[in-house]
Symmetry: D2
Subunit: 155 residues, 4 copies
């Protein structure tokens, strides 16, 4: 079974967990769009109820922090999986690594304006106890809206 097939399986499991099992992800409409070399790409559509100020129509800071947090967490999760060498997680979803955010920094760089937004993450370190990832949020014009760093404990 090729890596490609395994990643397809993994992608569908990650989608199922991320999009269906985490209620607030649904509330915001965040979706895992794809995995690029085990790095997640998360998409969010602009909606009126996600706005932070009625006059300016920008994404609320909390929505930005939310997508930064989940993207960082999913990046860490995939990094732990990859490091473990076990990508055939198949039916054993209960064996998945469990990560909790220790802390998160969000840098609000430019107004959260756009029709849709894309968040991507990079691993800074996957240790045995702690994972650290860096996250960026761009809008549909590839303007960097926000950046972040998250620390996650692995259990």
């Amino acid at each position: 079974m090729s890596i490609f097939v395994k990643n397809e399986e993994l992608f569908s499991i990650v989608q199922k967990i991320f999009n269906e099992k985490i209620p607030f992800n649904k509330t915001l409409g965040m979706q895992v769009e794809l995995l690029e070399d085990m790095r997640p790409v998360i998409r969010l559509e602009m909606r009126n109820d996600l706005v932070g100020h009625y006059l300016r129509g920008m994404l609320h800071g909390g929505v930005i922090a939310s997508i930064i947090d989940v993207t960082g967490g999913l990046t860490a999760f995939l990094g732990v999986l990859e490091k473990s060498g076990n990508l055939q997680i198949g039916e054993s979803m209960e064996l998945l690594p469990n990560l909790s955010t220790i802390d998160l920094r969000v840098d609000y760089l430019r107004p959260g304006l756009g029709h849709w937004f894309i968040a991507t993450g990079d691993v800074l370190r996957i240790g045995s106890k702690v994972a650290v990832t860096r996250i960026e949020l761009h809008n549909d014009e590839t303007i960097l809206i926000a950046a972040g760093t998250g620390s996650y404990v692995i259990s």
Copy 2:
């Protein structure tokens, strides 16, 4: 006109802006409950669509970051108003100081479990350009769920 009356007026203006003019605050159901000596108390009711994991029923990390961000911002806003000595903001809502989050740190300390949550903020510094505040989130059993620090630019 007494300070008390002025604070009542201020409170009703703050409520109007916070609860009605910021769509995502409504989406989450965040409410300014009261102002204690110019420090805001924000309340959030637990709801199924705010949950981070269907099995554990805890508040999503993004919801926690959201309430930390808005509480820090409102604390900074009130600190700027207080420092300016102008609490009779009356009709001139357009003269209100405008603050944007520069960056935010959120520390996730304990599981976000509870029927409702209360966030409070403290000023660390109100400068002429930058304000810094510290935020805490407790649940209905007064357990400290999360803490944070936010920097805000004043314009």
Copy 3:
């Protein structure tokens, strides 16, 4: 043997480690001044070679970050010891908990001016794997110069 005596022993061990076994603490001249209910008080004397800008004579940002980091780490260390209930660490210094900083936030609030500075720490949470502490740095006029938050992994 009373708690007081135990704390005296503990204090002298902590002083020995902090002041003598950590070369860079010596380089800066940081000293554990006392333990108040298991919370450390660290003192630093102003010196010309710790200055950040020759014209303004303020403490360098890196010195401030250094004292914030070590105070947060020592606060976490003492919190772990206290939680373990084992304060009679006596000869068994090799059994001491080992903490490493995961990440640190430093907020630079006011110019680092003063003859000497005092840093104090508070526990936000001592878990089994991760400890989080909050730190403040005041000058000799009790002006709050800087604040911080640190996360530490326990091993």
Copy 4:
């Protein structure tokens, strides 16, 4: 006068300020090694008095925070200069932009082991009031030791 010459002039002014006018930079032995496209490269030699733990011989967390802070600040300074389009700063060192750190995050990723260390910075945003930069610290084997993000107020 070519850009190259201007950058040589700029580099020698930056070196003069960084290496000679900031006492604590000298105390640590931090040196601006070069500017690559207006991005600074800072070098630090390992020394016994910069160690954090006598047994393990690793760089002290405060030294790491120090080099992260100054690299982020210098990156922001050069970004502000570049944005202003005025690189012929010549004799007018008193006209240089003045930046102060608002806050700093440092992520300690791997043990601070090495003969020497190199810190580099990237601009995330240069605004009119606030600059945000991201910093990385590698050792002489190009292992990523630490990362950071800093916010700076421009005046």
